[in-house]
């Protein structure tokens, strides 16, 4: 088969980091190539170079046998390269069809011919079995439909080399299966597919060959049929995977610390995001909530912590009702909250490290009096938690922006758990985008905390994480909570069914 893409000796450095070092990647026409690696392994950077969003410091690129320079996305598109980003790049107020044709829209005289655009989109959609309703606005379309629109966007521009960046991270298992069927159909049609992922199971399922990256280098390329997830994982992290074993002994479970009874939450558009949610967390217990993101998990966490009003139902903390109290009252009653988006919610990046560390406790003794902050006492407390939680920082007074992502998250955890007051910890995506050492540390901190009699509500889109930490698992789907029961050998199947909306 002829060569579709060859990237040879690609090196790319960002200030302080080598993202790609002497990377070679050769992909044949009609191939589905998976590129796997941990966060920060350099896979996305490599693909951004191919799509013209970054420029390599050195190295050459051949597309369909021709040596090319790709200074921007326009050139990449002209070469027949299309990219579907992990975070979709769609204009919310435009329809899906308008998004698909944007930039190369059909015209009638000096005007945009929207009717023809719609017709062409539907033709294309039928040809590849990528069903979309072109007249739907992006804001009304489902995530799967948005992703199909993104793929169509590339195909509409005549792409025959498709780059997909973590395409399954937002999909349910069923949607993932559908996506894979579409990808195989595209490959059979002669399209070349580059597929970035860190989910090995999926990689094994769909790809022809797999390239593994680690620390900016290619570790190796293997035929997928001749490898296993264990081998790939070894290549990815350079050692045997340490799966945290499910917690052997059942924890010392005590009285209920958090109870939800029939809680409804509406989102800002007035659409019910959480419906009749009920759950109980006992002291010493970790309850995990699995599910694809966007099924109401954020709203659930925000309702518990007082950031969103609940329309009906009750929330009790150690027997006392706390629904619709202010965030401060709820926090003082003993709820800690690790938010899913640390940079926009969890910290003020421009503020100093100590200012972020004290943000919950600053308002009461011993850290302040009636009016004035006890700065010295705060600083010595901050110094203490920074050491205890291993936050690497140039200093307590340096801007939080200077910390790495993993350390920002440690800072958030240190603030929420450092004062040892919380009875319930709501932890949303606590280890997202964090390296292995940081992930292990944060998981350990959470588990240790249950040892003190607190309960943890763990919300994570990473099923492995949920299964590794939780005593009991619930699944959130379309705003509803379904109980998947205790973690045992068959939990994965049960959760998988519930995630697609099957009855428990």
């Amino acid at each position: 088969m002829p060569e579709a893409v060859a990237m040879l000796h690609i090196t790319k450095t960002f200030p302080g980091v080598v993202a790609n070092k002497d990377v070679n990647l050769v992909v044949q026409r009609g191939e589905i190539r998976a590129i796997v690696g941990e966060n920060g392994a350099g896979k996305t950077t490599l693909m951004r170079i191919l799509y013209g969003l970054e420029r390599a410091d050195s190295g050459t690129i051949r597309v369909k046998g021709q040596e090319v320079k790709i200074p921007n996305a326009r050139v990449a598109i002209a070469l027949g390269i299309g990219m579907v980003h992990q975070h979709f790049k769609l204009v919310p107020s435009y329809t899906l069809a308008q998004n698909i044709v944007l930039g190369v829209e059909p015209r009638r005289g000096p005007f945009v011919d929207h009717e023809r655009a719609l017709r062409e989109v539907h033709e294309l959609s039928a040809r590849y079995g990528l069903t979309v309703n072109g007249e739907k606005k992006v804001s009304d379309a489902s995530v799967g439909e948005q992703q199909r629109a993104e793929i169509l966007k590339a195909l509409y521009r005549g792409a025959d080399i498709l780059i997909l960046d973590e395409p399954t991270s937002v999909l349910t298992d069923m949607e993932t299966d559908e996506l894979f069927i579409m990808l195989r159909r595209l490959a059979a049609d002669g399209k070349t597919i580059l597929f970035i992922s860190h989910k090995l199971r999926e990689v094994l399922e769909v790809s022809d060959n797999t390239t593994v990256m680690r620390g900016g280098r290619v570790v190796g390329t293997v035929k997928t049929a001749e490898t296993s997830d264990r081998k790939l994982a070894e290549m990815m992290i350079g050692r045997e995977t340490v799966e945290i074993p499910p917690r052997e002994e059942p924890p010392q479970v005590g009285q209920p610390v958090l109870e939800l009874e029939g809680v409804d939450v509406y989102d800002s558009r007035g659409i019910p995001a959480v419906r009749e949610a009920s759950l109980v967390i006992r002291s010493g217990e970790v309850v995990g909530i699995a599910g694809v993101e966007g099924n109401g998990q954020v709203e659930l966490a925000e309702a518990i912590t007082g950031l969103q009003p609940i329309a009906c139902g009750r929330i009790r903390l150690e027997g006392r009702e706390i629904q619709n109290r202010s965030t401060r009252q709820i926090r003082q009653a003993g709820v800690a909250h690790i938010p899913s988006d640390r940079n926009s919610t969890g910290v003020a990046l421009e503020a100093q490290v100590w200012e972020n560390l004290i943000a919950v406790d600053y308002h009461a003794p011993p850290y302040s009096g009636m009016l004035v902050l006890a700065i010295n006492r705060i600083l010595s407390y901050a110094k203490d938690v920074v050491t205890r939680f291993g936050v690497q920082t140039p200093g307590l007074k340096s801007p939080t922006r200077n910390l790495s992502g993993g350390n920002v998250q440690r800072l958030v955890v240190a603030r929420e758990l450092g004062s040892n007051r919380a009875r319930v910890v709501v932890a949303a995506q606590p280890t997202r985008g964090i390296d292995i050492a940081g992930t292990e540390a944060i998981r350990r901190m959470l588990l240790e905390y249950t040892g003190r009699g607190a309960g943890v509500l763990l919300i994570s889109a990473d099923l492995d994480e949920v299964l590794a930490l939780s005593d009991r698992v619930m699944v959130m789907y379309r705003g509803r909570l379904a109980d998947a029961g205790r973690v045992d050998e068959t939990i994965r199947q049960r959760v998988g069914r519930l995630m697609t909306g099957a009855e428990p």
């Binding site: 202010s326 965030t327 401060r328 926009s344 003020a348 200012e355 600053y362 009016l371 004035v372 700065i375």
Partner: protein, 359 residues
């Protein structure tokens, strides 16, 4: 981190700031020189005259300091609002409202001991200035009305309304320009002992407020909340801080400081309320605050610099014929470059190259 490394880091920081300001100043002077050349004058002569006029003698220095009093206060007003990410562009209106209130207390109450009369005047200015910020912030909190436009509209309304007041109900029959009666002597701020200069205790009041605002923002719970809300309101709400209260207070405090500025300039300098008396004190306050990177103590030198520009401008016009409006152009240029991250980033890269391994 060793203390030596820390010192080195600090020095680099200071050097970067200094170089940054020097660059901004040079850019502004170059643009100014180009504008002066348009009118066929010699920029160097003009700049020398400007410097002489601002700081050429002890009396001139004292007059410049006096002019800085109101600018320090409006600068602080802007700093409090901007630190909280409240776009209070209504300082000019709040200044007018406060100035008129202070003047009214000054000329319509008689027979009070001077300290009490002065205190009442300043209190009235502060209070009414804060009140003039109230509609804009209530509209923002209730209906999410953008405060940029609403505070601006309140500026025009305050200027026109006070102009109406001194043209009709409070017009002094003896004065040539539309204005109120002169204030009672007991309401005037006492001069400081510099013969020939108008410098009065208003300057000391302004300094005291600069330190108080610094203390408030960096040492008190409320100030901490304001700053955190300013950095990231989402974060502040998530941590349990009263975000709406902070936004509200920032606007009211900001208005109050601007109103106090109006009161100080009326009781200290003008001695009565004159229609359209302000030559952009409120607007300058915003630029001063930005120049000081919204830091209350940085406001002091920035305000003195602006006062020197303003006082020097008059001297420059009479000595060389270069119109004093030049200074406004220079101020605009400074504002253009104040928030340009480019300078700082560029300097940062360079300095790090020169002095490696600071961390």
């Amino acid at each position: 981190m060793s203390s030596k490394a820390r010192l080195k880091g600090l020095l680099i920081g200071v050097a970067m700031q200094a170089a940054n300001y020097a660059l901004i100043l040079i850019m502004a002077l170059v643009v100014g020189a180009a504008v002066i050349l348009v009118s066929g004058k010699n920029p160097i002569d003009a700049y020398i005259a400007l410097f002489q006029g601002a700081l050429g003698s002890p009396i001139k220095i004292a007059d410049t300091l006096d002019r800085s009093s109101v600018l320090i206060l409006t600068g602080l007003a802007a700093a409090v609002a901007f630190r909280t990410s409240v776009w209070n562009l209504g300082l000019e209106g709040q200044l007018y409202a406060g100035a008129f209130a202070a003047a009214w207390v000054g000329f319509s109450i008689h027979g009070l001991p001077s300290p009490i009369h002065i205190t009442l005047c300043l209190l009235a200015g502060t209070l009414v200035g804060g009140l003039w910020g109230l509609p804009a912030i209530l509209l923002k909190l209730r209906w999410d009305v953008n405060e940029v436009v609403s505070t601006l509209m309140l500026n025009y309304i305050a200027i026109l309304f006070t102009a109406y007041l001194v043209a009709f109900p409070f017009r002094s029959p003896t004065a040539f320009m539309p204005g109120t009666e002169t204030l009672d002597a007991t309401a005037r701020l006492p001069r400081l002992m510099i013969p020939g200069s108008v410098l009065n205790i208003g300057f000391l009041i302004a300094l005291a407020f600069a330190f108080s605002v610094f203390w408030f923002l960096y040492r008190t719970k409320l100030g901490y909340e304001l700053r955190m809300v300013g950095f990231n309101p989402r974060f502040a709400g998530y941590a349990g801080m009263p975000v709406r209260r902070s936004t509200f207070l920032a606007m009211i405090f900001s208005g109050a400081l601007a109103g106090l500025g109006g009161a100080v300039v009326i009781t200290g300098f003008f001695g009565r309320f004159i229609s359209s008396f302000s030559v952009g004190y409120g607007w300058d306050g915003m630029v001063i605050s930005l120049l000081a990177q919204n830091h209350p103590l940085g406001v002091i030198p920035a305000a003195i610099f602006y006062a020197a520009l303003a006082n020097g401008a008059l001297a420059m016009q009479s000595a060389t014929g270069v119109p004093q409006a030049l200074v406004v152009t220079v101020k605009g240029t400074i504002m253009f470059f104040v928030t340009v991250q480019f300078f700082i980033a560029f300097l940062n890269r360079r300095l790090r190259q020169w002095m490696p391994s600071t961390s």
